[in-house]
């Protein structure tokens, strides 16, 4: 309907314009424009403008919400203004008992359980705990180790490494004039016995006697010292040398 109305007016307009070209104003004005029907696109002129001279007016005071507002009206308020608006509570559940508080150091626990089997009396631990036990093995002592398989190994102790279950010591000897060294794990089930053949005369001022590998410091073979020790021991105990198992 609108369209037909518009075209009718424009047709009339064009015919009149063609008929009287010289006339500046059309004789017949269009009845209307579509623009008038559409919402106004041009913003309304700013009729009120703030100047420095404008009298400062205070903010309008906030109107308080009516007290005892019925609940059915809450939905009309923004969420933050509703009287029952509170942060939602999240349940916090207490933690279950922790194994970490029972066992603070699991590595120590595992080591202790191992030592309880491998060294029940704690004798061997004390024998090599040179930091606490003054009667322990020290670097420079001559030791004789007998393994479970039966073959012994003797030599000078060059150093003790205290590492819990991995505690070990280094023995050095000369077999057929060739220097031989062996790290032996103190708590290894393969180690049958450890005997102190001879203690060092003077306390060594080093924890590791690696200088004894040098030719000028090398002790050479400890075979003679060990043989002497075994002879004395067999004389005392009355047992043949081959069966000597001590400590």
């Amino acid at each position: 309907m609108v369209k037909s109305f518009f075209w009718a007016s424009s047709a009339r307009h064009s015919t009149t314009a063609a008929a009287s070209m010289a006339v500046s104003l059309p004789m017949v004005r269009p009845l209307g424009y579509l623009k008038a029907m559409t919402p106004r696109l041009v913003p309304p002129q700013i009729c009120w403008r703030r100047h420095l001279s404008t009298i400062y007016s205070q903010k309008p005071e906030r109107v308080p919400l009516p007290a005892n507002l019925p609940k059915e009206f809450y939905s009309q308020l923004p969420e933050r203004l509703r009287p029952d608006n509170e942060p939602r509570k999240i349940d916090v559940i207490p933690p279950p008992p922790s194994a970490c508080s029972v066992c603070k150091d699991p590595v120590a626990t595992v080591t202790a359980s191992q030592l309880a089997i491998l060294d029940p009396t704690g004798e061997r631990k004390a024998l090599f705990d040179y930091r606490r036990n003054p009667r322990s093995v020290k670097a420079g002592d001559i030791l004789r180790v007998t393994f479970k398989s039966g073959d012994p190994f003797s030599g000078v102790c060059l150093g003790i490494r205290l590492r819990g279950i991995d505690t070990s010591f280094l023995l050095r000897n000369q077999l057929t004039r060739v220097g031989v060294e062996m790290w032996i794990k103190v708590f290894s089930p393969n180690v049958g016995s450890v005997e102190i053949v001879q203690r060092t005369e003077k306390r060594k001022r080093r924890a590791r006697l690696y200088y004894m590998r040098k030719p000028e410091h090398d002790m050479g073979s400890v075979e003679n010292i060990v043989q002497n020790y075994l002879r004395q021991k067999s004389a005392l105990t009355g047992q043949p040398i081959s069966k000597s198992r001590g400590r």
Binding site: P94, V102, V107
Partner: protein, 298 residues
């Protein structure tokens, strides 16, 4: 004066009406989808060709067919250090890693119907609720779990592997003698040069080499090679702190009251790092460990 027209009337009507594409009920797709979905090709049509299987469901079926999904969930443990275990009979020393389980609990499930796969979300440790986001706190509260320090997902084969929410997993979840896979982040090395990171040999100490003794040298061929650096060129960069998986570690010892799990050999990462342990996928699944549906015993 010709009247101006802003919009043609049919055009107006079209604007007011909702467009046809909006009226259709289009479902939003979730999950991973292919950038190049399979298209029918006229050269690729013959009766004997296999059906292309690129859906999530097919992927799950392939995974189940390959039998690489463990039957039951894994656990989160903390690496506590290394020690050794001596065998009393043979006298053999076995180096081992000590791991500890701290309040490992099932937090929630992922199911095939809802998420496309089966998985158990497991949490461990404890973190102060103040230090957690509201989203995580809500997640824990809904499932009735205390706030956890670590949360991780373990995929399982089917719903039989979904351990009940809230159940505490202890070290006796694993049996002594079984094999496990351990995933953890390696020790971070920071920004490392090519010698440390990739084992390059470096350059000469002398012979005219100046200030580039540890650099990588040329990064690529000259104009014949395209005058560019090829993708994947080994260069300096951040080293370590990436996940590493060690497979088929034997469980040497289980101590449930102390939450201790001892596995053979080493596990990646420094002491105190998080280790994800699950049944080894390259060994037969441990027997008698999978609970039957409906039974309450672990």
């Amino acid at each position: 004066m010709p009247p101006r027209i802003l919009l043609d009337l049919p055009q107006l009507c079209r604007l007011c009406r909702p467009s046809p594409c909006l009226t259709n009920n289009i479902q939003r797709a979730f999950g991973i989808k292919s950038l190049n979905p399979p298209k029918p090709n006229r050269f690729n049509v013959s009766p004997g060709l296999p059906v292309l299987k690129s859906t999530q469901q097919d992927a799950l079926e392939r995974k189940i067919k390959a039998d690489t999904l463990p039957l039951r969930t894994g656990v989160l443990a903390i690496k506590k250090g290394m020690t050794a275990i001596f065998d009393q009979d043979s006298g053999k020393r076995t180096p081992c890693t000590v791991l500890q389980l701290d309040r490992v609990q099932v937090v929630s499930h992922k199911t095939r119907d809802k998420h496309g796969y089966f998985a158990v979300q497991v949490g461990s440790g404890w973190r102060h609720p103040r230090r957690l986001t509201k989203a995580l706190l809500g997640h824990f509260a809904v499932n009735g779990i205390s706030s956890k320090r670590h949360v991780h997902e373990f995929r399982v084969r089917d719903e039989r592997g979904l351990l009940g929410v809230g159940e505490i997993i202890n070290a006796n979840w694993f049996q002594e003698g079984q094999y496990v896979d351990a995933r953890s982040n390696t020790r971070g090395m920071g920004f490392a040069g090519v010698i440390k990171r990739h084992g390059f040999h470096g350059q000469d100490r002398s012979h005219g080499v100046s200030l580039t003794h540890r650099s990588l040298g040329s990064a690529g061929p000259s104009q014949g090679g395209g005058s560019r650096v090829y993708p994947g060129k080994k260069m300096a960069g951040n080293m370590g702190n990436i996940q590493n998986k060690l497979q088929n570690l034997k469980v040497l010892k289980v101590d449930a009251p102390n939450g201790i799990l001892v596995v053979k050999g080493s596990v990646s990462g420094p002491k105190g790092c998080l280790v994800k342990i699950q049944d080894a996928i390259k060994k037969p699944w441990p027997e008698g460990t999978l609970r039957q549906p409906g039974s309450s015993t672990v």
